[in-house]
């Protein structure tokens, strides 16, 4: 087994730190957390860190942007900025300062881990293939990065929304997702009040991937709650 990826989390709120710490540890990463920019630079120098999650707003004279610039002087480690600012220009500045990606607060841990995987794949060229690259579920083979789904070896053509729903469900088989959660993932925040429209997407998706759409094997309805991906027996 290759050495575990070490991630440094820099945020001034200890509660956010501990939450990210818990989640990423559960996801199988080694996590170090610090609260200030100076500590972050120290940690980057000292430890073999593969990725830094860096809060934009940091106390103590050294903000996230400056920390990012300093890190770039000493290391080529991947950096994902956490920011409460949603202004386009702020993002551009952040990316110019050497950040690899950014996530706006409030962020979902699922989104953050997806970004972490993407950034790590990009920065660790030739490195180990990420386990999340191919999802094999029964007769379905889903490749999220390539945007392809095959059923019994045959390509299935999905719309982007259908694809996002499928990936979300298939990544965590057995976990129930509410309509609201799925519409947030598939349609974005703007459509959050149209959660019922997710039913239409699900019914189309079933026609495409289920052998018998009226008795779905993969995308199962949990009455009164939402949908889940059936665990293959």
């Amino acid at each position: 087994m290759p050495e575990r990826t070490r991630i440094l989390v820099v945020d001034d709120e200890s509660r956010v730190r501990s939450m990210i710490h818990q989640y990423l540890t559960a996801e199988g990463y080694d996590v170090t957390t610090v609260g200030t920019g100076h500590e972050a630079l120290e940690a980057v120098r000292r430890d073999d860190v593969q990725l830094v999650i860096l809060d934009w707003m940091l106390p103590g004279g050294l903000n996230g942007l400056e920390v990012c610039r300093e890190i770039r002087k000493i290391s080529s480690v991947a950096v994902i900025m956490l920011t409460a600012k949603t202004e386009e220009t702020d993002m551009i500045v952040g990316l110019e300062m050497g950040a690899d990606d950014y996530v706006t607060k409030p962020f979902r841990m699922r989104e953050l881990t997806a970004r972490i995987r993407t950034v790590l794949r990009r920065t660790q060229q030739g490195g180990e293939a990420s386990p999340a690259n191919v999802l094999t579920r029964g007769s379905l083979v889903i490749e999220p990065d390539k945007f392809t789904v095959r059923k019994d070896g045959e390509d299935v053509i999905l719309t982007p929304a259908e694809f996002k729903i499928l990936v979300t469900l298939a990544t965590r088989p057995g976990v129930v997702f509410s309509r609201l959660q799925l519409s947030e993932v598939a349609l974005g925040d703007d459509y959050i009040h149209y959660e019922r429209s997710i039913d239409t997407h699900i019914s189309h998706l079933r026609k495409k991937i289920e052998s018998n759409p009226s008795q779905p094997e993969y995308i199962q309805t949990v009455y009164g709650i939402g949908y889940r991906f059936g665990v293959p027996v």
Binding site: R15, P59, A84, M109
Partner: protein, 452 residues
């Protein structure tokens, strides 16, 4: 209809009406004077010949032979043969013609001329009337007609000229008068479009400039209010982000099966929900205080007793933190009118802040003293030997959501609303709150309250 048009119409109308009246009156006056003058002249001229006839009648007792006698008299008169007298007709009182004295070869055209009738009086009795036809007198009538005509023409031209000038002047004046109004209207439109930094400039020193000043003041206050609201929304959004991120992350952990739904993994969610509740409560309170809708239940309070009791309540916690807390008073008693619950909130906030930032072995001291300025107020100092507030942050310490660097890195749980609320509450009591601080040595918060 625009004000400018109204002013213009009013002004032009007034000028037109006045000049019209003036011209018509002067016309009527001139005409009557002139008519009077010509009538007089004609009668005078006619009367001269009537006198000749009267004298002839007096001498001869009848009109027989009056014709040659009058002709003779005319020829012998200073006018001689060049007289303008054309004809004199004598008519008896019963209407019959007595004599017709023709003095020129061509008789007067009755269409052209009307003779001037003059009574022939003898011994105070009218015995006939003479109708005198005279070219000069007729000419006088013609003169009267043409003169009156030209007076009328002049009046008309004058009226037209006045009209044109008054319309132009009125237009210019109304434009001048309404110019500040147009400026102000433009400003209001700009404000309505959302440009709240609009400042209207009116140079005159009159009602308009006062209106413009009021408008400028309003737009400035509006801009400030919008700015405050924007900042508040941004602040609140910012404060909401962290709890929501944590709640979501924690829930994701549970939903994704990375953590069981046990009390220990639910606790952080509970904590964050509590923080959100506190945030909402404090925001509500601050909003009420700022809009002066917070109801104070004022009672007469004695501060010496009240403060010593308050300090007692904080003693256990101070003891726990190894901090000395005390209270001294320089006055025997101080009565104020206050809402004791709200006042407790103010002091509890100050004391708990002091406790938070004062290290072990430190001290917190409350002092009640007379306040020299303004008069009839009392001051309470809350002094600590804590970390103090850096100079550049002192000005912002009462801003909502403002937390010093120290407060942020300590994560001592404050939302940055406590001092903002304390300030509003102190002001609602008619008092003031201020701070003096020396970084590294401590801070003193001073509250002044009016004495009752």
């Amino acid at each position: 209809m625009s004000v400018r048009l109204k002013i213009w119409i009013a002004m032009a109308g007034l000028i037109l009406w006045m000049s019209g009246c003036y011209l018509v009156i002067s016309h009527i006056f001139t005409e009557s004077q002139f008519r009077h003058f010509t009538t007089e002249a004609r009668i005078q001229s006619a009367t001269r010949w009537a006198t000749v006839i009267e004298r002839y009648y007096e001498e001869h007792g009848s009109f027989t032979g009056v014709e040659p006698a009058v002709k003779n008299a005319v020829i012998q008169s200073p006018y001689g043969t060049g007289t303008s007298l054309e004809e004199i007709t004598l008519i008896s009182p019963n209407g019959s013609q007595i004599a017709k004295i023709a003095l020129s070869p061509t008789p007067p055209d009755p269409d052209d001329t009307t003779g001037v009738p003059v009574p022939i009086m003898v011994n105070g009795k009218k015995i006939a009337s003479a109708i005198v036809y005279d070219r000069v007198i007729e000419g006088l009538e013609l003169l009267q007609e043409t003169t009156l005509q030209s007076v009328a023409n002049a009046t008309l031209v004058g009226l037209l000229l006045t009209a044109v000038i008054s319309l132009i002047a009125g237009g210019w004046l109304s434009r001048l008068i309404t110019k500040p109004l147009r400026n102000i209207m433009g400003g209001i439109r700009q404000i309505a479009r959302g440009d709240l930094n609009t400042q209207v400039r009116v140079r005159s020193r009159d009602e308009f400039s006062r209106l413009a000043d009021a408008l400028n003041d309003m737009s400035m206050k509006l801009a400030q209010a919008v700015q405050t609201r924007r900042r508040l929304v941004a602040d609140v959004a910012h404060e909401l982000r962290t709890p929501i991120t944590i709640i979501q992350g924690q829930l994701d952990l549970i939903q994704d099966g990375l953590q069981p739904a046990e009390p220990s993994s639910l606790l952080p969610i509970q904590d964050e929900v509590l923080r959100l509740r506190t945030l909402i409560d404090e925001l509500h309170q601050l909003a009420l205080a700022e809009s002066h809708q917070l109801k104070l239940h004022m009672t007469r309070m004695e501060l010496v007793e009240w403060l010593s009791q308050l300090v007692e309540k904080f003693k256990p916690e101070a003891l726990l933190r190894g901090i000395d807390i005390g209270f001294t008073t320089e006055v025997e008693s101080a009565y104020v009118s206050a809402d004791s619950h709200r006042l407790t909130q103010v002091f509890a906030n100050l004391i708990s802040n002091a406790l938070r930032y004062t290290p072990e072995q430190g001290a917190i001291h409350l002092t009640l003293r007379e306040n020299p300025e303004p008069q009839k107020t009392v001051a309470i100092d809350v002094t600590d030997t804590g970390t103090g507030i850096p100079k550049e942050q002192v000005d912002h310490i009462f801003d909502r959501f403002y937390r010093t660097e120290e407060a942020r890195s300590r994560e001592s749980g404050g939302l940055g609303l406590g001092l903002a609320i304390a300030k509003e509450l102190a002001e609602l009591h008619g008092g003031k709150i201020s701070v003096a601080s020396e970084p590294g040595r401590g801070s003193t918060f001073t509250i002044t309250l009016p004495l009752k």
